[in-house]
Amino acid sequence: MTPVLEVEDLSVTRNGQPVVHGVTFHAFRGERVALMGASGAGKTTVLRAIAGLEPQIGGAISVCRPDVFAVDDLGNPARRARTPRIGMVFQFHNLFEHLTALDNVCLAAVHVAGVPRRDAERQATALLEQLGVGHRTHARPHELSGGEAQRVAIARALAMKPLLLLMDEPTASLDPARRDDLAATVRDLSTDGTTILISTHDAPFASACVDRVLMMRDGHIVRDGRPQQVLT
């Protein structure tokens, strides 16, 4: 079985300082993986490197060959493929403040994937309803609660039908009840084969929704296994 995500000997440098080094792991179709570790261990950096947001990287990252992007001689990510295979849900959601929830979800489908607006809006409405925010389609980001904004951000990422969904600290702004809802949502999302990689330091959440935990410390992976093995 071919992995959806292959990370080989990844290193990330910031201001000349290595912050991640020697990170190698694979993730398979429909697998839910948590990157865990203390603050500063490098878990968010690994996510950002996979999303193409880190300019100084070495090693290789591929998502469901062919490579989403290669790394050129200078260690810069080369031009990314036009239609992304990766979706990302940011810790602070990063919704487009000038657009409604619906338009946030539609924008890339229309302008990047070239889906007709009417179809994009229908799909977006369905996604928002599926995620429990169907009643907020015409709200602006500043009118949404933290949990609602997160679900709109998830819908925005899913609208591009990614093979790999990255989630950065998704429970940081959620109360415990919402955290359980999110765990259920994550389990549902992978049933259609989407691979999910979550950076989190929330052990109960990880135990509730992932198949596998990669424990990081000081920029590299120190343990790799099932949650009950790693989180003891």
Binding site: F90, E97, H98, A108, V112, M160
Partner: protein
């Protein structure tokens, strides 16, 4: 530059009564920018002024037993300054007119001049009189007898008056072909032709006028003393000596002097209609011209702002997205434009570039204002672009948007909203800065107001009318922007 906004305020605030003055001095007002032979800075010692008016002032001071002291006042502000008592007497090629006589204490005339047409040598045969200049642009100084003459024939002959703020550029623009004739007094015309070899003066006088001294109305006693001194100087040849020294003596002067000294008067040739009618009539008469000038101000401002927005957006985009050399180049450009006066930029574009490209005045004004404001707009847009959170740009990048798409769909719409309030402020500022373009002959609202004020001899009513028109243009704009801001983007 002859700005009047500050003098207007002062006129309103300070009573127009003459202030106490040291009796040992004769403070005389003139505009050294008017240049030779009137008053100009001494080329050998710029702290001193020279000119025939300087010598007339000396003559008057001697007669009064005082020391002359020169007070620099812009030419178009001389009347208002005289009324305020900024100086004892104004001597700067001030023309006699009924309007002046009605509101100031005016001396007897001490020099007679002829208004003459100056044309390019090639046109000497076809442009002999104002009637030959139908549909042509004729340059002159604003608020002068020559300007009144041009206005009088504007309707009859379709001559297009073009007003300048100084007496050098009418002639240089005539040589360049921007105007087809200049109508000014022979003193200026002689100098203009000497400086610009391709020009000739037409011999026929279009009108005759006189130079007088002007004093505050309550200074009639001093005026009478001055008149006595002038009469004596006409008789004993001291005035003749001065004008001979400045190569201005001609046969018209003895005739004038004999009329004056025999008790006659020299009536101003062109009666400014304002003198005989009320201020309200004058207001009604000037209203169409003011409204038209307001329209020009608004049109010029709107077009300049459109240019500034487009250029500013391009500069801001280049500074945010461009490679390092582009960024450095654009930053230097913005600093150059912001660090130098708009007035200088207008002069450079209109007069400085004239030997290379002769831009029509309106286009030069549009370019000057547009380029100047583009620098300020670009700073606003740059700040607004950078204020859009980086997280949204990262989200757009992961979603697969190109940089151009991110700018168009995510960054610019949000930046525009942030920029809206400062942009409105800039538009209102531009509307008012558009008054500066009168220096390159565009008659906009402020210039038309100053012509009106010079004509009726008061700033109060013209100032109020002008202010009302500017407010009528700027207030709806501010309201419009507030509404846009509230309802943006739908």
């Amino acid at each position: 530059m002859r700005r009047w906004a500050t003098p207007l305020l002062l006129v309103l605030l300070i009573s127009s009564s003459a202030q106490a003055q040291p009796s040992g001095e004769l403070r005389w007002g003139g505009d050294a920018e008017g240049g030779a032979p009137f008053v100009e800075a001494d080329p050998a010692n710029p702290a001193r002024v020279v000119g025939f008016e300087v010598e007339v002032a000396q003559l008057l001071a001697d007669g009064l037993g005082r020391r002359p002291r020169f007070v620099q006042v812009g030419f178009t502000s001389l009347d208002a300054a005289a009324a305020r008592g900024d100086f004892d007497i104004g001597l700067s090629g001030v023309e006699d007119s009924l309007a002046r006589r009605s509101r100031l204490a005016v001396t007897i005339p001490y020099y007679e001049f002829r208004e003459i047409l100056t044309v390019r040598a090639a046109d000497a045969a076809r442009f002999r009189t104002l009637a030959d200049l139908s549909g042509r642009r004729v340059a002159t100084l604003g608020a002068t007898l020559a300007y009144d003459l041009l206005l009088a024939v504007e309707k009859d002959h379709g001559v297009v008056p073009v007003t300048y703020e100084d007496d050098v550029h009418p002639y240089s623009d005539l040589a360049l072909g921007r105007v087809d004739a200049v109508l000014l007094d022979d003193v200026l015309a002689t100098r203009g032709v000497r400086r610009n070899p391709g020009l000739v003066n037409q011999p026929a006088a279009v009108g005759v006028g006189h130079y007088v001294g002007i004093l505050a109305p309550q200074n009639a006693a001093l005026r009478d003393q001055v008149n006595d001194i002038l009469r004596r100087a006409m008789v004993d040849g001291r005035l003749e000596a001065i004008f001979r020294r400045w190569e201005m003596w001609n046969d018209d002067q003895p005739a004038l002097y004999s009329r004056i000294t025999s008790g006659g008067d020299a009536t101003p040739v062109v009666a400014s209609t304002a003198a005989s009618s009320s201020t309200w009539d004058a207001a009604a008469r000037y209203l169409p011209a003011l409204l038209k000038a307001a329209g020009i101000s608004l049109l010029l401002s709107a077009l300049s702002m459109a240019l500034a927005v487009l250029l500013g957006a391009a500069i801001a985009t280049g500074r945010v997205y461009g490679p390092r050399p582009v960024e450095v180049g654009l930053t230097a450009w913005v600093e150059l434009i912001r660090g130098t006066p708009l007035l200088l930029q207008l002069f450079v574009i209109y007069f400085g570039l004239a030997t290379v490209v002769q831009l029509p005045a309106f286009l030069a004004a549009l370019l000057g204002l547009g380029i100047n404001y583009a620098a300020y707009e670009s700073e606003i847009y740059r700040g607004a672009l950078q204020a859009v959170p980086a997280g949204q740009l990262e989200a757009a990048s992961v979603l697969g948007f190109s940089r151009m798409q991110t700018l168009r769909l995510v960054r610019a719409p949000q930046a525009l909203r942030l920029a809206l309030a400062p942009m409105t402020n800039d538009f209102v500022a531009l509307l008012k800065d558009s008054s500066l373009v009168s220096v390159i002959t565009v008659v906009e609202l402020t210039k038309q107001t100053s012509i009106f004020a010079a004509n009726i001899g008061s700033w109060v009513l013209p100032g109020v009318m002008c202010a009302v028109m500017y407010l009528a243009m700027s207030l709806p704009l501010a309201r419009f922007a507030r509404r846009l801001e509230k309802g943006w983007p739908r």
